[in-house]
């Protein structure tokens, strides 16, 4: 079965215009909160530059920093695992659970596990996974993937969440009071936290010089899970490394401001070693990252700290929804990361942009996102991930535009058609015309006008 591409999914999303307005305005409000917060920091642009430079250094010396991190973490009593790809990552998690005879696990937010499709894999092995981030729990109950990396259920209205909770958690039917729903989730999750022997978390930053990991949440759910479980499994992409602890003073200032406009996340928790009698495992995952590191034009995408600011500002994301990107990470950053994982499957994503450049401007680590979208387009076409129809159209266009005579002829033909046979253009086969009028036809082209009115200058 052919999977729908971004444009087709966006078409469906746009069938309900009021909903698109609501989605757009909700995310725009977050973009505004981000602006307000960023504009209160006089050194904001310097902070972005510094963060970008630290990440450049990290990526250039990734091998050394990873080994330094491993050495220090091992000294702290942490158990380190290396996973080359999603499959190996998932198998490591499963093996750890199986060895302990655990069949239920609580998990806080980790986009890496979404990328690796860990939940589906574990469910297949008979392991029950409960997501403890409220938004993630909501989409998990709805059997949907997250639509946003920071705000996983931003596509859902509170009434829909009320219905879900009524069905799964027994809240009163028709009640969509956020306070009541949150309280119901809290009670439900509290029980989960108390009874789970294994907790899986993501990692925001891994500090090479100390071997510690830092996890940022607003709900404290990562801490709650990790503190109560016998075994804490932290999963991280290898690009999450930062060289020194002091660098957190740059990244922690940028992360939450960029994400939601908060000065800092409610919890920024450091995990350095296991508690007595408990285990802390860290899985370092490649899954295509070293390949991306080798693509010079795209390596900067690995600087991403997963704040989601590019999604909130993206006018296309806001009006097409996260699911239209059919990838764990949606939006502009998803569109430059996904083709690295599978060019064929994600060949549509770099085209789901007007290249407006707003994403690059909000990015706290200054990834040149819109330039990379442009570059991915070139790569994808060269690798053959385009349609024959598009190739033919582009070749015809290139031939016409390379010849002044052909160009003039084609221009005149287009104007004549529009003027005398508008039905040839004004029909449902012309995507422009569906919701937009064609431009009015002028008396003559500028070239023709110039010939008559400025003969003296003609070359």
């Amino acid at each position: 079965m052919k999977t729908l591409d971004h444009a087709e999914r966006a078409d469906i999303f746009n069938e309900d215009e009021k909903r698109v307005d609501w989605h757009d305005e909700t995310l725009w409000w977050i973009r505004q909160k981000r602006d307000k917060s960023a504009h209160q920091i006089p050194e904001w642009e310097d902070l972005r530059e510094t963060a970008s430079a630290i990440k450049s250094n990290t990526l250039s010396n990734l091998h050394d920093y990873l080994l330094e991190f491993e050495k220090n973490a091992l000294q702290n009593g942490v158990i380190i695992h290396w996973a080359a790809d999603a499959k190996e990552h998932n198998e490591i998690v499963y093996r750890l659970l199986k060895e302990k005879g655990i069949d239920k696990m609580v998990k806080s937010k980790s986009m890496l596990t979404e990328e690796c499709h860990l939940n589906e894999y574990l469910e297949h092995q008979g392991i029950e996974v409960i997501d403890s981030d409220l938004g993630e729990r909501i989409v998990q109950l709805a059997k949907e993937p997250p639509s946003h990396i920071v705000l996983p259920c931003i596509h859902k209205k509170k009434e829909e969440i009320g219905e879900l909770f009524h069905e799964h958690l027994g809240t009163p039917k028709g009640n969509a009071d956020p306070q009541l729903l949150t309280e119901a989730a809290r009670v439900h999750l509290r029980d989960t936290f108390l009874t789970r022997k294994a907790a899986l978390t993501g990692v925001n930053f891994a500090v090479a010089e100390t071997g510690e990991i830092v996890i940022c949440t607003n709900e404290g759910n990562a801490d709650m899970g990790a503190h109560l479980a016998d075994i804490h499994i932290a999963c991280m992409g290898i690009e999450k490394i930062i060289p020194k602890r002091e660098h957190l003073s740059v990244f922690l200032r940028l992360l939450a401001r960029s994400a939601t406009g908060q000065p800092i996340t409610t919890y920024s928790s450091h995990f350095a070693k296991p508690r007595d009698g408990k285990e802390l495992h860290i899985i370092l995952v490649d899954n295509g990252r070293t390949r991306q590191l080798g693509r010079e034009e795209f390596r900067n995408s690995l600087k991403c700290i997963r704040c989601g600011a590019c999604m909130n500002t993206c006018p296309v994301y806001r009006r097409s929804g996260g699911h239209s990107y059919h990838n764990a990470i949606a939006g502009p950053i998803g569109a430059i990361l996904a083709p690295n994982l599978d060019m064929k499957q994600y060949a549509d994503l770099p085209f789901a942009s007007t290249l407006c450049g707003s994403c690059s401007n909000v990015c706290p680590v200054k990834i040149d996102i819109h330039d990379q979208l442009y570059k991915w387009r070139q790569v994808l076409v060269k690798e053959g991930y385009t349609t024959t129809a598009k190739q033919v159209a582009m070749k015809t266009m290139a031939t016409t535009l390379s010849s002044p005579a052909l160009y003039k002829l084609a221009g005149k033909a287009a104007r004549t058609t529009l003027k005398y046979a508008p039905f040839m253009v004004n029909n449902k086969f012309n995507a422009w015309y569906l919701q937009r009028d064609m431009p009015k036809v002028p008396q003559s082209s500028f070239g023709e006008w110039y010939k008559i009115n400025r003969k003296k200058n003609e070359q």
């Binding site: 006018p315 937009r436 431009p439 010939k451």
Partner: protein
């Protein structure tokens, strides 16, 4: 000062008045302006679609047409951005480099090169300024709302020189209109929705005209306005600055 007029292909074919206004505006400032008549297109439609490798013909033609001038000026941010970022010619790299460095979008040419501070034009209407992304974020014609940096606007500075004009403040000062080249048909639903939202922001502030430095964005918004049978008209900034009565 020898200036070449670089007119985007769709402006040449569908909006000759914009090109005429640009030509007259520059002529009235006493410049020696000529229009190389063999020009076609900068090649951006292919490049932005991933077919930059097919833009070679356009590149060599561009270099051929625009050699021998002090400056090249176009009433477009988008086409100028494409030239400054992507023009190359393996046979004549130095020439291509010179062209890239001397190609200007109209308003920045007026503010940065000519440094004009008076204009003989009047436009007694309520106008909304559309910031086209390639001009604003690409060529840095105006400050961008994402950045924590001092405000400025080259097109705004010029509109301030026009008598009787009222430029309104929009809710979303610099959001993309959704044109995006082939995006406008490949992603029709989102493109149109973005355009409708942009147009509504202007309508909400009771503008009579929407202006901007890029006719492509304006053409897209005009298509939507006309379909809605809206009284709001679009006008390129060159026409306002040249004092052409609308």
């Amino acid at each position: 000062m020898k200036v070449a007029l670089f007119i985007p292909c769709y402006v040449d074919q569908f909006y000759p008045n914009v090109a005429i206004a640009t030509l007259e505006l520059l002529e009235n400032l006493g410049l020696d302006v000529s229009y190389p008549t063999s020009q076609t297109c900068c090649g951006q439609p292919m490049a932005n679609s991933g077919f930059e490798h097919l833009a070679g013909g356009c590149n060599s033609l561009f270099v051929k047409n625009f050699s021998g001038f002090d400056y090249i000026v176009a009433p477009s941010g988008s086409c100028v951005l494409h030239i400054t970022e992507h023009l190359h010619d393996d046979d004549q790299p130095e020439l291509a480099k010179h062209i890239k460095e001397t190609t200007y979008e109209l308003t920045s040419f007026l503010t940065d090169v000519l440094k004009i501070n008076t204009l003989n034009s009047s436009f007694p209407y309520k106008v909304g300024m559309h910031q086209s992304c390639h001009g604003q974020r690409g060529l840095k014609l105006s400050q961008m709302t994402e950045l924590n940096a001092p405000d400025f606007s080259k097109p705004g500075q010029l509109l301030n020189l026009v008598k009787d004009i009222e430029v309104v403040e929009l809710d979303r000062k610099d959001e993309c209109c959704g044109f995006g080249g082939t995006f406008c048909v490949a992603e029709e639903a989102v493109s149109v929705k973005m355009g409708k939202d942009r147009v509504n922001d202007h309508a909400k502030h009771n503008v009579e005209y929407i202006t901007g430095v890029d006719m492509s964005c304006l053409m897209h918004m005009e298509g939507i306005l006309n379909r809605q049978q809206s009284p709001i008209k679009i006008i390129h900034i060159a026409e306002i600055l040249n004092g052409v009565k609308a």
